[in-house]
């Protein structure tokens, strides 16, 4: 197990550098000059432009810029945005909001998704099964921004339960509606995955044994069936936490949540290289750590899997 963890961590290193380099190249080879753009309509003074470019290392070749950036990164310095604010400062303001939003969405999709999946998986072909299948299919096929508008119209405009957009992004209760919208697609996947997994395991030999032993139904479902059926679901949920944070752009935009997605969208549009690279780097780290944890969880949940 120990050597497996070590090997996985070592494998993560080239992926980390590769992905950050890729995003670095993509961001910094964009046409258009962000420094000249800072001057707006006015003609830029070449000397000032040169000094700003020198300050941000923009006059160096790309590989030197990347090495310089990485060197700073390992000292905890994410660089400074072109407006002069440290990128770590920007992220410190936005990340807590997105983490809360993603966690809320995660809890929502996990609890409701598992419940719906069990509801339909345990009684295949029943009315509730068909209902869950149709509902999840609808949620999967309606794009998230349409779903957001439907939720906004129904819950804010018609019912008046919440304000249409979030007034205070640090207020957890205001984040509930955006979180529900954000988590709805994954919720549908979790429900369908649980249903399929339960359906496969229901036919397993150990289930017949458990029934033949005369165990109470509760014990069979909770201790035998569920524990075995949850393995693929947990894999999905693990990788999804990172995806929720990266996928929050649309939801945060529509509900005016001042999280990472909003900041990132603005930064991409204004060609704020340091901010984009910084945020994406953190997202990549989250994704890598999450997929490592999922692999380790696998071994804990399923004793058949042994990592040498």
């Amino acid at each position: 197990m120990g050597s497996y963890v070590l090997r996985r961590v070592l494998q993560m290193i080239p992926v980390f550098f590769g992905t950050t380099l890729l995003i670095f190249v993509m961001v910094y080879t964009l046409p258009g000059d962000p420094v000249t753009a800072l001057f707006g309509e006015k003609a830029a003074d070449p000397a000032v432009v040169a000094s700003i470019k020198h300050k941000y290392f923009l006059d160096q070749p790309l590989w030197k810029q990347y090495l310089h950036y990485m060197g700073n990164l390992f000292q905890g310095d994410f660089g400074t945005s072109f407006t002069g604010r440290p990128v770590s400062d920007i992220m410190a303001g936005a990340f807590p909001v997105t983490i809360r939003l993603a966690l809320l969405a995660f809890v929502f999709e996990m609890i409701l998704g598992l419940a719906l999946g069990m509801l339909s998986g345990l009684r295949r072909g029943s009315v509730q099964d068909t209902l869950v299948l149709v509902l999840t299919l609808m949620v999967i096929s309606i794009p998230v921004f349409v779903l957001a508008y439907i939720a906004q119209t129904v819950f804010a405009t018609n019912l008046g339960w919440v304000t249409p957009t979030v007034q205070d992004s640090y207020d957890l209760s205001q984040l509930v509606l955006p979180a529900v919208v954000l988590g709805s697609l994954s919720l549908a996947y979790v429900a369908r995955l649980t249903r399929t997994s339960i359906g496969e395991n229901l036919r397993a030999d150990y289930m017949r044994t458990a029934v033949a032993k005369g165990l109470p139904r509760r014990t069979i479902v909770l201790r035998h069936l569920l524990r075995n059926s949850l393995i693929p679901v947990i894999t999905f949920l693990g990788t999804d936490l990172g995806a929720l944070m990266g996928g929050a752009i649309v939801t945060e935009g529509i509900f005016n949540v001042q999280g990472i997605g909003n900041v990132l969208y603005r930064a991409i549009n204004t060609k704020e290289g340091p901010t984009v690279v910084g945020i994406v780097t953190v997202l990549v780290i989250i994704y890598l750590v999450a997929s490592l944890l999922v692999d380790l969880l696998y071994a804990v949940l399923d004793p058949r899997i042994r990592y040498a």
Binding site: P14, M26, L137, S141, F145, V146, T153, I249
Partner: protein
């Protein structure tokens, strides 16, 4: 990957059972699947829907004679729909620039269908080639391809395409297709690689080798037909996803641009007046959802037909 070894053990064991159950006529997996599919109402409905969409995309003029770009602000600013005027300009009402929403919904199908199909074909070919090379040769080729796949896989699809599309000053359907293929091929590579590794161990591959078949022949005549099923399934399901993604990008204002008609752009421009003219948002959003739904239902049906485990 624990599940890969599992399928490797199960597939050869199950194949003879399936063959023995139907002694009357030996059918290939493809024709067997087709036989199953034709009887499924879900498949028939979604296939007809997609066929209709393709006809709309190819010849939108068949469905409306109204110019989708002609706007008359004075006459038609946000005129509500007239539901009894089937197939006419005012059927779905007019949008904020006095353009017929019905005509725009019809003409918008082309962008979605073209992006969806091109991206799926592109990622399938690219991912298929890489996956085949990695799975068949193994060794350092596999190591390199797998690591590069990991690197691209780490970049979220939506974020990455936002960054790439920002580099284009004027964006067409093809720039969106380019961005999505650049970032989307990784999943296909993984699926193809796993599938090829499973098939490679089968006896008929060893037999072909023993008979002196060359590498190319083994790859294309023996492995490819047997390894392609999971790829087709993932491709069909992801087609709907790519259509939704194109609409999302266009909605964010970073996908397609105005002379091109896209449901995403129309939804974006309709959102500002969602309370006074909800119909301007409802119809493009509805068409988009139906389109995505059709492809996802098709994918589900194809998966059920092609997956031997579910038999």
């Amino acid at each position: 990957m624990p599940d890969l070894t599992k399928t490797a053990e199960e597939t050869p064991a199950q194949a003879p059972v399936a063959a023995a159950a139907k002694p009357e006529k030996a059918r290939s997996l493809g024709s067997d699947a087709w036989h199953d599919l034709r009887r499924k109402p879900i498949f028939v409905i979604s296939a007809l829907l997609i066929l209709l969409l393709i006809v709309i995309a190819v010849a939108p003029g068949l469905f409306t004679s109204v110019d989708p770009r002609a706007g008359d602000l004075r006459e038609h600013f946000h005129t509500p729909p007239n539901y009894s005027h089937f197939f006419e300009g005012d059927w779905f009402g007019y949008d904020g620039q006095g353009r017929s929403i019905y005509a725009r919904v019809i003409y918008g199908a082309r962008a979605s269908v073209v992006v969806g199909i091109c991206v799926t074909v592109g990622t399938t070919i690219l991912g298929g080639i890489f996956g085949m090379l990695a799975g068949y040769f193994g060794g350092w080729i596999d190591t390199i391809i797998s690591r590069v796949t990991d690197i691209f896989f780490g970049i979220p699809l939506l974020l990455g395409s936002l960054v790439i599309l920002n580099a284009f000053t004027s964006r067409t359907i093809w720039s969106v297709v380019f961005a999505l293929i650049t970032l989307g091929w990784t999943q296909m590579t993984r699926v193809m690689r796993g599938s090829v590794i499973t098939v490679k161990q089968a006896d008929f591959v060893t037999a072909a080798k023993a008979l002196g078949a060359g590498t190319g022949r083994i790859m294309f005549k023996h492995i490819l037909p047997n390894a392609i099923a999971p790829v087709i399934v993932v491709a069909t399901i992801s087609l709907g996803g790519y259509i939704a993604l194109e609409a999302t990008l266009s909605f964010l204002g970073i996908g397609l641009q105005d002379p091109t008609i896209s449901w995403g752009i129309d939804i974006n421009s309709a959102q500002k007046l969602i309370r006074t003219a909800p119909f301007a948002l409802f119809f493009p959003a509805g068409m988009l959802s139906i389109t995505v739904l059709a492809f996802i239902m098709l994918g589900d049906a194809v998966r059920d037909a092609l997956d031997p485990k579910l038999r």
